[in-house]
């Protein structure tokens, strides 16, 4: 078991305190919970119970992989290993786990930079990062954005002081610009919403107001991140009390305006799709429960399409993608089948075949981290290419 026998440090058989430190205990707890969820998934009777426990298990796994990226790759504290080499090591984990571990690495690397020298500079946009695989860039930026957001939000002393909040937000955007690659800026921006909603929920409203004044475009990224946070929110974690499906209602209730609602909803769907991409029946279950709310706008289509394109970009493995894009509900509910076809299957195919190549070529993946008409985006990018 992790850390019980620390062979590297103290010789074979030496018992290490690592086994009992809070971090290890936390990780073990997550592992035990996953084991329990897996057992319940298999044995608890009732319609869709298995789906709910599977979703819980997936979410736990994504969280654990992100937080424990260093132990997954057996990183030694204080030892410098080139990031490209670490990314290479993630390949042995398989496509699904590699994505979350890579996001965790982005976070870990940025935190290390803070700890050693202060504000990160040119973390992912300098020539040293040129040898990083393109597939790793989105999760790395997402992890970096989380660290930047958390570090800066933590410094806020007066949560109702507009000038202080504005200063921090401007600093955040500045750091994102200085550390992100062209085309990935939106990925870093979006992490602000996730950090704010789950670690500093009292700041969400005032951040929204300040972003409206700084740059309206940032508001979309922010609420998309909030939506992602709502999906991962602890109150939606345990599969009781209609969770996780009530995340949809929370995403509609928490934002103050329509732009916020559409982005938050797209963010929830985005996260749900990525976390559960290997089990399309989870998405199907969510659609069957919230078909009315979700058919009112194209936030569902946007969330699913964006998630699929990010998955396509971040992994070489297409099996998860194919599974989702070919999935057909085994249901006699015609309305559900129609909805699935119109809002999931067709957009999925369009995203992979038509939208993604243009967005990739025009280096605009960051645009997928906020709600917008993807076809308009692609038309715009194509026009720019022509000119």
């Amino acid at each position: 078991m992790y850390g019980v026998i620390n062979k590297d440090r103290a010789g074979v058989g030496a018992l290490s305190f690592d086994a009992f430190d809070p971090r290890s205990v936390m990780k073990m707890s997550l592992d035990v919970m996953r084991l329990a969820a897996e057992s319940l998934r298999l044995f608890v009777p009732g319609p869709n119970k298995g789906v709910v426990w599977q979703e819980f298990n997936n979410k736990l796994q994504a969280f654990s992989l992100f937080e424990n990226a260093d132990s997954m790759l057996r990183l030694e504290t204080g030892k410098d290993v080139p990031l490209a080499k670490l990314i290479q090591k993630t390949r042995i984990l398989g496509a699904y786990r590699a994505v979350w571990v890579t996001e965790g690495l982005g976070h870990y690397q940025t935190e290390t930079y803070w700890a050693r020298g202060g504000e990160p500079k040119e973390l992912l946009n300098n020539s040293n990062a040129d040898d990083l695989p393109e597939a790793s860039l989105t999760p790395l930026h997402a992890g970096m954005g989380l660290s930047l957001a958390n570090r800066l939000l933590k410094t806020i002393r007066s949560p109702n002081s507009p000038s202080e909040i504005r200063g921090v937000l401007e600093r955040f955007t500045e750091l994102c610009r200085h550390n992100s690659r062209s085309g990935y800026l939106g990925v870093s921006y979006e992490a602000l919403g996730l950090a704010a909603r789950n670690l500093y929920p009292h700041l969400v409203r005032i951040i929204d107001r300040q972003l409206q004044e700084i740059d309206v475009k940032l508001v979309g990224y922010f609420w998309h991140g909030v939506g992602r946070a709502i999906y991962f929110a602890p109150t939606n974690f345990l599969p009781f009390n209609n969770s996780p499906w009530r995340a949809i209602r929370m995403a509609q209730r928490e934002p103050v305006d329509e732009i916020g609602r559409l982005n938050a909803l797209a963010g929830v769907i985005w996260a749900l799709t990525l976390v559960n991409i290997r089990q399309p029946e989870i998405l199907e279950n969510m659609l069957s429960r919230h078909r009315k709310e979700l058919s009112d706008s194209d936030a569902l289509t946007n969330g699913v399409s964006s998630a699929i394109m990010i998955w396509r970009d971040s992994t070489a493995d297409d099996s998860g993608l194919n599974g989702l894009c070919r999935h057909q509900p085994e249901s006699s509910d015609r309305d559900l089948v129609r909805l699935w076809t119109e809002q999931i299957l067709q957009p999925c195919r369009i995203a992979v075949q038509r939208l993604y190549p243009v967005i990739r070529e025009r280096d605009s993946l960051g645009e997928l981290f906020r709600y917008q008409s993807l076809t308009k985006l692609v038309s715009q990018l194509e026009k720019e290419r022509v000119h």
Partner: protein, 493 residues
């Protein structure tokens, strides 16, 4: 060893602290629960980083910003060029400016809404005999961004000056007086608000005595008694460029023209020495021993446009209103004194002059501050005491040995790490006497607070009266070329 303590003790306490902080935030229950669990899970799960990583993790207590002092987090300083030459202390102060200003603005807004009769408890503070002056004190609560803050304060208004001219020249004299007061208040008042009391002449040329003879000497010694406020401007933020910088040594006494705050400066930070200001505690009555706590430590203040008053002909019967005000910045370090300038959680002072149509000048002073939670801080940290004791016995030998433990334990936030002997005494004596001590002997927190306000009143009264002599000795404040050097340079004491 250090790593062991960081992981086994520091990390859980850090998680607990993050949770406790979340509990105090104003947010709906659902997001609050999410915040609590997310913080807890993240604090327990986050990677172990090499170096001083977790020092920065614990910087939520603003007093422990070692990491930030090396590389300022730019809290509220976005897009601003930071002038070089700033010390660590300057950076700590800058990090607190926005918070102090936000609280100060909230207190000022609250005051404007409550004055004159909206206070929860209003009481007389001082009596003035044959002087046209008025004052009152108050207790109330203010809702700040950080929560509800119990506050106290006082208002005092007094006559300042008037023209002595024939009746037919009244209007002209009044307007002259208005122009003079405007220049004096907005440009020179902060430069000349400290002054020395007359001191006994000391004969020069007396031979220096060895130090052991000094106590036996009957010779007059130089004795400087200062009163009022000694302001020095330290830091500024330029409005247009957002640059934050530091005033040079020779600029520090000549406080900028307050009319420049707004157009040129976003804010300036001044350091004030409040002379002759102490807090007296007499546990055994007025004839018993007296514990006099001098509250003369320097304090930092921030002035922004919100606190500057510059109104010509604002209303019928009034030729002008001019004034200044500031918010207090809490000192980054906690000292023995737990309350007073430098230790206020939030406080403002406003000094406004008003010139009537007859040229009469009156000055009003407003003070609002948090009610003290404690008067003194005596460490109750057994670890601190033990380590100091061990260090003393080992002639400093344990310091290096136990440094990792000490570092870890110092970073653990504890709610009971010091106690206040003054308030403890009050609680104890009232418990033992079934509150008779409060009812009959006025041994209560409220009494101490009123004493503090009375002291504050007197101190400001003396300052304003002292400034009157300076004001009257200059024939024309608008003729800057004729002003004495000590006025221009702000070296009044």
């Amino acid at each position: 060893m250090k790593e062991f303590f960081d992981e086994m003790v520091g990390r859980p306490f850090s998680a607990l602290s993050a949770v406790i902080e979340m509990l105090s935030q104003r947010v709906e229950d659902g997001p609050r629960i999410d915040g609590i669990f997310s913080r807890f899970a993240h604090a327990l799960s986050k990677p172990r980083l090499h170096g001083s990583a977790d020092e920065s993790e614990l910087t939520w207590d603003g007093a422990k910003v070692r990491f930030m002092s090396d590389q300022p987090s730019n809290n509220g300083r976005s897009s601003q060029a930071i002038n070089t030459g700033l010390t660590d202390e300057d950076r700590l102060i800058i990090d607190r400016v926005n918070g102090a200003l936000a609280d100060g603005q909230a207190l000022k807004l609250w005051w404007d809404q409550k004055y004159p009769d909206g206070f929860a408890e209003k009481f007389d503070l001082e009596r003035n005999f044959n002087r046209p002056a008025d004052s009152f004190g108050f207790f109330d609560q203010v809702e700040l961004s950080t929560g509800v803050l119990p506050v106290m304060g006082n208002f005092q208004e007094m006559f300042y000056d008037q023209p002595r001219t024939p009746a037919n020249l009244n209007r002209q004299a009044a307007e002259w007086m208005r122009d003079q007061i405007r220049e004096f208040v907005l440009r020179y008042f902060m430069r000349v608000s400290s002054f020395r009391q007359p001191a006994v002449y000391v004969q020069s040329g007396r031979p220096m005595l060895p130090s052991y003879f000094e106590p036996l000497s009957w010779c007059t010694r130089p004795d400087v008694v200062r009163q009022g406020f000694g302001f020095k401007q330290v830091l500024y933020k330029l409005r247009d460029s957002g640059e934050i910088g530091k005033f040079s040594e020779h600029e520090q006494s000549a406080i900028v023209d307050l009319r420049e705050i707004g157009p040129k400066y976003d804010w300036i930070v001044v350091r004030v020495n409040i002379f002759d200001f102490s807090f007296n505690f007499q546990p055994f009555g007025s004839n018993g021993p007296d514990l006099s706590v001098p509250l003369m430590e320097a304090s930092y203040l921030v002035l922004s446009r919100d606190f500057i008053l510059n109104e010509n002909n604002p209303s019928p019967g009034c030729l002008g209103r001019y004034g200044l005000g500031y918010a207090f910045i809490r000192d980054p370090a906690e000292g023995l004194i737990g309350y007073g300038p430098g230790q206020f959680r939030a406080a403002i002072e406003i000094i406004n002059f008003e010139v009537s149509e007859h040229g009469e000048v009156r000055v009003a002073m407003i003070f609002v501050a948090d009610r003290p939670e404690r008067i003194a801080n005596v460490s109750l940290n057994p670890v601190d005491w033990s380590l100091r004791l061990a260090d003393a016995f080992s002639v400093g030998g344990t310091s290096s040995l136990l440094a990792p433990i000490k570092n870890t334990l110092e970073r653990i936030p504890t709610s009971v790490d010091s106690f206040d002997p003054v308030y403890s005494f009050i609680s104890l004596i009232n418990t033992l006497t079934a509150n008779q001590a409060e009812q009959q002997l006025c041994i209560s927190r409220e009494q101490l607070e009123k004493d503090f306000l009375a002291q504050h009143f007197k101190q400001h009264y003396v300052t304003v009266v002292g400034s009157l002599l300076t004001w009257r000795q200059i024939p024309n404040w608008l003729d800057s070329t004729a002003l004495p050097e000590w006025v221009v340079a702000g070296k009044s004491s």
